[in-house]
Amino acid sequence: MDFPILSIMLAVPLAAAIACLFLGAQTARMVALGATLFNLALGVLLWANYDIGGAQWQFVERAEIFAGFSYALGIDGIALMLIMLSVFLMPICILASWDAITKRVGEYMAAFLLMEVLMIGVFAAQDMFLFYIFFEAGLIPMYLIIGVWGGDNRIYASYKFFLYTLLGSVLMLIAMMWMVNEAGTTDIPTLLNYDFSPAAQTWLWLAFFASFAVKMPMWPVHTWLPDAHVQAPTAGSVILAGVLLKLGGYGFIRFSLPMFPEASAQFAWLVFALSMVAVVYTSLVALVQDDMKKLIAYSSVAHMAIVTAGLFAFNVQGIEGAMMVMLGHGLVSGALFLCVGIIYDRLHTREISRYGGLSINMPKYALFFLLFTMASVGLPGTSNFVGEFLALAGIYKVSTLVTLVCTTGIILGAAYMLYLYRRVAFGPQVNEDAARMLDLNPREWAMLAPIAAAVLWMGVYPESFLAPMRQDIATLEARLARAAPEGDSKLKVGTPKEHAANFVEAAHGEEGAH
């Protein structure tokens, strides 16, 4: 296709961001909403035109306008899904900030639109250094969003976010330079099939791991996340949880696994160990939180741990499951942060004990909150169930122990989420001001309803989301096959039975008719 759709998806929010800097509050809101909706339309167009089962890299664009690296864009199914997630969440973020942000609106909208540019850029970049530039540049708008429009302790949180993630990613740059020097190209599709020596892979893998583990975030480098989440404005939390955390997982899929298969196998135990600790530890921490945003932040760490474990299972189920958890978590945790934001806007506190019995005065809100709580727990029929089930099935092929520990995460997840829901929505209405809060207004409906629809769609018919990624994940598995660890569960595939399991023989059927 000659139409440079990816470049336009980058250019539209960029132009809108620059415009917002010079506009008044209300105009800036309209411009930002318009630009993000336009980008969503372009995203739908992108998905509609994506040729499932076609070439691995589609919508490829390339221009040699820089020295040392090129402006090369292109997406595969994995990137497509993550771009869709970004463009889907973005208009919702703008809506979430509609009334909540009153100071320096133009600059705020500009920062968000810039975030959108950078996120799409990260997923679409086909050049190693272009990827790095987009990846790292995200620090700037996020630092400002937390620092200018955040809560009381915003300065500490913004510093921590910035320095943590910067320290993580600079070593990756050196590793990239080494790889480019060795392989003689900055082109990601070429590098995906370049075999680095196993000894070098070890070091390269560790350098990339330092970056992605912080972004992910994995235990024990997750501590920036609760601080950043708690202090960021609602929309900031949504973007942070919805898309930015996915950068780490995307990095593992795009770089660590296919470029360093041997090293990935070598360090799989490390990832498993950290993931197991994370699932149990952060779930327990989430259980005792008084602050709603902190609770959801810790639950994000636990969910992301299932993603990392699934990725390093080295099989199709694990990786597909990890991708589905990422997409599902992007929607669900984003929606949960919106739910928190909605009541925060009314009462200006995130303390759980200040609420209670909201299902009485805010029944519609309580319904949405319930749906997203259940999705977060992984109830069948919601997006997270599909992902978690697939991921755990993949992990089971490799290690029973890891599966066992990770599954506790789901039980603990049910515990902390249902406990949260009970304290917020059920029980007596202890606080009068909380009891007087009004139910959802149309703007909030417009934010929550699309996410709810997407969550159910992903839970009921995940094929729409799995189909574009299937071929790319199969390619990835083929690439990993030579290093894949042998599983301990020794699954044996038996000969298929003649009939389906619910088949009833005709003779018996006649007898049963008596």
């Binding site: 790292e136 540049a137 700037i140 320290l167 070593l171 740059l173």
Partner: protein
């Protein structure tokens, strides 16, 4: 080698010297009222010299090209590149200078004339291929710098800065001179080619000591750790435009002089000087970053920032390859734009009465009182911190890439990890401007000249700068190719 070609290749130095002498006479007879005229003419002369250098740079520079006066001096692509930076930086700073002194009515026409002589000295530093020529250029530049530092002679801080700079600078010159005498004693030559030939035959311990002394003195001139102690004091005390000047043009000259020295006469003895440069690089990055953390004065902070930046440049030099030298030159070009921009923004910060603001407390909440200025400073600070997509990242990128290509992975990894420490105080700068509440009334208007300089610098460090990567890379590579022949 005719006399005419020698004069042609030294055209910028000759031309600027004549301009300096004439303008000195003008200022002597005309008095203080000619200050504006002399400033404009000086800036014009500097721009003219830069254009002349650009022309020289465009000419093919082979083995013989550019040599003047029996190989005392070489106007090659490397020298021309550095000189363009020096002249343009000096001219840009002249554009934002007079207003600073106007408030106290202390501006005099001698100021631009001193800058002109300084530029002549710096031109000689980067082009000299003989230790004697080098020393004359170095002293010419240094002596005018000492006077410039103490230009506000009623102000004790300025006088103190000048005196400190003079005492320590003289010490450094002495160290260089001692090293030069040792090198001459052991090689029997002051010419770069002669020294390299003599080193190739025998590199004795005495010569090694000479090399170490020369490098130590040069480390002082570029303010690399452990010879950096003068920098914060002098930068803080000197008038702000002079500080801006010190942080750019003489830094380029000293760095280019150091690169030429390391890559030409000492090119055969990379093993001897590389470890010194590596130590200085890492120490500069770390000390420059840690020292800045507690600072309240912005000029002092930028002084540490310049120490920090020198560390990154030295990483490119430590690679000791043409790519490394090209990296240093690219870094210098970007560094000059970032530094001039930062200091111009600092010069635009005044309170209602016209006093300069120069501490963190003064700029708090700047983003609400002067948003455009604050956004410009934001771009400059993120650029100095090396965060993409700002162009400062590219400077770090090229030097680290050169180090990686030279197989110095550990150096690159430690250097880049230490750069995170530096990021802390740059983002503190942004925190104070954007996250804190305004505490002071600031002047709302700035002259157009300042905006032009600031606008150009910010445009260069903004992501638009990446469109320059191809030409900048070509020019740097051409400048560095001078040494490819030597290696």
């Amino acid at each position: 080698m005719s006399y005419a070609s020698s004069l042609y290749f030294t055209g910028t130095e000759v031309g600027l010297s004549i301009a300096g002498l004439v303008l000195l006479l003008v200022s002597a007879w005309g008095g203080a009222r000619t200050a504006r005229l002399v400033t404009i003419l000086t800036a014009a002369a500097l721009f003219g010299a830069a254009i002349f250098c650009a022309n020289l740079f465009g000419l093919a520079s082979g083995e013989i090209a550019g040599r003047a006066f029996g190989d005392l001096y070489r106007a090659d692509a490397f020298g021309s590149f550095a000189k363009i930076l020096i002249y343009v930086a000096a001219a840009a700073i002249l554009m934002v200078t007079p207003r600073y002194f106007a408030h106290t009515a202390t501006y005099r026409p001698e100021y631009p004339v001193l800058m002109l002589f300084n530029a002549v000295g710096m031109g000689m530093m980067v082009s000299a291929t003989d230790l004697m020529t080098l020393y004359i250029g170095l002293e010419m530049s240094s002596l005018s710098s000492y006077v410039l530092a103490s230009f506000l002679k009623q102000d004790t801080r300025s006088s103190e800065a000048g005196l400190k700079y003079f005492v320590l600078g003289a010490l450094a010159s002495g160290i260089i001179l001692y090293g030069v005498s040792l090198i001459y004693g052991f090689t029997g030559s002051t010419n770069y080619e002669g020294i390299r030939a003599a080193f190739a035959m025998q590199f004795s311990t005495g010569a090694l000591i000479g090399v170490v002394f020369v490098l130590a003195g040069m480390a002082f001139k570029v303010s690399a750790v452990p010879f950096h102690m003068w920098t914060p004091d002098v930068y803080e005390g000197a008038p702000t435009p002079v500080t801006a000047f010190f942080a750019t043009a003489p830094k380029v000259a000293a760095m280019a002089m150091l690169v030429r020295m390391a890559m030409d006469p000492f090119a055969g003895e990379v093993g001897a000087w590389r470890q010194i440069v590596i130590f200085a690089a890492l120490a500069s990055i770390v000390v420059g970053a840690l020292g800045a953390i507690g600072q309240q004065n912005l000029k002092r902070l930028l002084a540490y920032s310049s120490i920090n930046n020198v560390g990154f440049m030295l990483i490119g030099l430590a690679a000791a390859t043409p790519a490394g030298v090209a990296g240093v030159m690219t870094y210098l070009a970007i560094y000059v734009a970032m530094t001039i921009g930062s200091f111009t923004a600092l010069l635009m910060l005044r309170d209602r009465a016209g006093n300069q603001l120069e501490t963190f407390a003064d700029i708090s909440g700047l983003s609400t009182s002067r948003p455009t200025l604050a956004w410009c400073l934001l771009a400059l600070m993120f650029s100095l911190a090396g965060i993409p997509p700002l162009f400062g990242f590219w400077g770090k990128f090229v030097v680290f890439q050169a180090a990686v290509q030279a197989d110095m992975i550990a150096l690159a990894a430690i250097g880049i990890a230490a750069s995170v420490i530096g990021a802390f105080y740059y983002i503190k700068f942004i925190k104070v401007m954007f996250f804190d509440e305004p505490t002071r009334e600031v002047e709302m208007e700035s002259p157009v000249g300042h905006w032009v300089v600031l606008g150009v610098c910010v445009a260069l460090v903004s992501p638009l700068g990446y469109f320059l990567t191809i030409p900048l890379g070509e020019w740097s590579a051409r400048a560095a190719s001078v040494f490819a022949l030597a290696m």
